[in-house]
Symmetry: D5
Amino acid sequence: MVYVVEMEVNIPESWSQEKLADYLAREKECSQKWQSSGKWKYLWRVAGKYANISVLEVDGPDELHQIISSLPLFPYMNIKVTSVCKHLNAIRETII
Amino acid sequence: MVYVVEMEVNIPESWSQEKLADYLAREKECSQKWQSSGKWKYLWRVAGKYANISVLEVDGPDELHQIISSLPLFPYMNIKVTSVCKHLNAIRETII
Amino acid sequence: MVYVVEMEVNIPESWSQEKLADYLAREKECSQKWQSSGKWKYLWRVAGKYANISVLEVDGPDELHQIISSLPLFPYMNIKVTSVCKHLNAIRETII
Amino acid sequence: MVYVVEMEVNIPESWSQEKLADYLAREKECSQKWQSSGKWKYLWRVAGKYANISVLEVDGPDELHQIISSLPLFPYMNIKVTSVCKHLNAIRETII
Amino acid sequence: MVYVVEMEVNIPESWSQEKLADYLAREKECSQKWQSSGKWKYLWRVAGKYANISVLEVDGPDELHQIISSLPLFPYMNIKVTSVCKHLNAIRETII
Amino acid sequence: MVYVVEMEVNIPESWSQEKLADYLAREKECSQKWQSSGKWKYLWRVAGKYANISVLEVDGPDELHQIISSLPLFPYMNIKVTSVCKHLNAIRETII
Amino acid sequence: MVYVVEMEVNIPESWSQEKLADYLAREKECSQKWQSSGKWKYLWRVAGKYANISVLEVDGPDELHQIISSLPLFPYMNIKVTSVCKHLNAIRETII
Amino acid sequence: MVYVVEMEVNIPESWSQEKLADYLAREKECSQKWQSSGKWKYLWRVAGKYANISVLEVDGPDELHQIISSLPLFPYMNIKVTSVCKHLNAIRETII
Amino acid sequence: MVYVVEMEVNIPESWSQEKLADYLAREKECSQKWQSSGKWKYLWRVAGKYANISVLEVDGPDELHQIISSLPLFPYMNIKVTSVCKHLNAIRETII
Amino acid sequence: MVYVVEMEVNIPESWSQEKLADYLAREKECSQKWQSSGKWKYLWRVAGKYANISVLEVDGPDELHQIISSLPLFPYMNIKVTSVCKHLNAIRETII
């Protein structure tokens, strides 16, 4: 099943450059691990904002939560989750 | 370039069943024409709502507007448009 | 998988008493059919509002959409859908 | 009587790992105590967010407030409370 | 138990003066019946708006819904319901 | 004249237990002084939230501001003020 | 006492030109009567919108409601009411 | 002085094709008259929406209101007006 | 030209009493200087909130920005600016 | 292609005057570099607010993101991005 997820990042002002760099490196590694697994289908930057729109294909809501909450920046994001399904007008046989 | 577009449909109460069926048939034809052209990449139903999330890859904002405004139900939709771009953490070489 | 769904109903002013009664009867029949099937677990009235909060256990988002969109009043409702999953602090073995 | 409660958690950035772990342990213990008492019927994670949707059956608003405000993370949550009642279309004899 | 309820009225434009007068007369009669019963404690006009703030003391959410939904203008109101309880700083022995 | 006031409290994370206890004691004393004066008619806890709904009968907006701004927690509250008046359907001779 | 009131007008689409002209003429007459009385101190057009910001000095909320609700367009306006009072930094001896 | 104005259009469902065509023709004529006058500097379509963002340079708020309210579709638009001025970091000598 | 400006103040929790007193003294001095100049016509306290509604008559948006941004508390305020103009129904010859 | 971008700045309270001055100087230099390049067409101050409205003409969303995210104050801004295109009623041959 497919979820469209918007994540907006708010880095705490108190972080040092080192702490920020460490978080960003681990965030990249974590998100790329899930992309490589085939679960995280798309990761797009929202132009002009510190935000992304992502498309994930997972087994269910438990797996979605496992993936999103594994991100190091998870506690610092506003997140909007939309559960999507097959549209009758879609010409693709598969949803993604 | 890629846009993520959310469309929520509000059918006027005054429409007859025939008028509605006619609109829905033309809406389907129009959206499938753009899907077949390769411009409208994904069309997903938002589960539980009369709404969709769509992903379009177009030449620019003029073409996006041409496509969206060609939909027969365009005047009856609330629409949210997000312009997205390459994310540095994305592992795909192409954006879509 | 479980969804929590809030539905707020807006009856068109133009409806006759007969049309309204017909819709309400079919709405009741439809929602009770899904409750009897075991898919629609809870249907609660929001106290003081023409709205409900419902809990559904379905196979996936496609089935959720099939159920919600089969309701005769579906075109006349504002709907909020939340996909939920197992909470680590929950003591129940099953989610519902 | 039944309340549906949404809680969204915001952990202060200044907390140490120890303080956070202590709070989470006490939060778990507290919420499980109320679940065991039979007052807190359901505790569901909102998929992809640091939030939950809970269903409580209590004697009245005073007891609801006693339970929610006893949670160690109560001062760090945005909370939405909805009072629900019997829906005429519900087929269950009891509300929960 | 006590609820604070805000109601904002939207009269349909299509109503004749006679229909409006009839609704207003029945609305008055209905709200005064509940006031006389002692359930509807306060009915205040929001200054400058077609809205009221009401305070009701009822047996529970079912009775609250029975009262509010019995109002002839119920389908034409936006309603906000807040369940309140004893405040530790209150000096009154009773809540109302 | 009567005002309905909603106050939602946000305690700064940086406060010590002593500072918080001191503020809460002074808040209680202050709100009880105004309740005893007969100006602050009702103080209700919003069930499940760190918030209250209050009803005050004052000489005018200057006195309302004097009372609310005298609360020690005034700088830490989101406040919504509604000026109310006599409702034509009210059966009470006095507004409160 | 002084209120700042924002009114945004929504003319029903079904009105004929004659009905609209009649309403506008009566609206003008009514608002000018209250201005002449000295109660309605300022009436400003919000630039670029079918809306106004008004300042009224009245005896209390009952009189404010009497004035605003006497406007023929009252049922067709979204209205925001703010009760204001003396500011300690104001250099004027009178509030208006 | 310069204003940035966002206008979102809502065409009434009851309009015939002829009425709509007449309005659109007069809307075009009117907006082009103001563009030719040099007052309406830019008129941009919001991609994917029945909305525009416009930039006007006018003598003051009265002239802005005269222009915007002269549009035939003025009663059918949601309008957001922002008054802008010289930014200290701007390298242009003139504001537009 | 006239602007109606709402300012809501948020004092940082980290400020000492001395720093706060210093800011408040300079804020008072600054706002009174602009009031004395005749530019800042009205300064009203919003009853029950740490907020004001102000009316300014200035040469244009640049002067408005100069005044508002000169306030010591400018960085700590949420500000809403409305540009107003002559209303056709107003009986005053001057706008203020 | 053209974007209209609104940026609202929130300077952290913890910054020293030196840090703020350094950021502002680098912000100015950065925004002026992009203005000089011809990509950043307009930079307007929103009158009365610590905010700007900007108009950029870029090759696509990637370049827009490169420019906006290069601003030193990027992490401290709320940003709204609108993608615009040619309006059929516009009399200019070029979009900007």
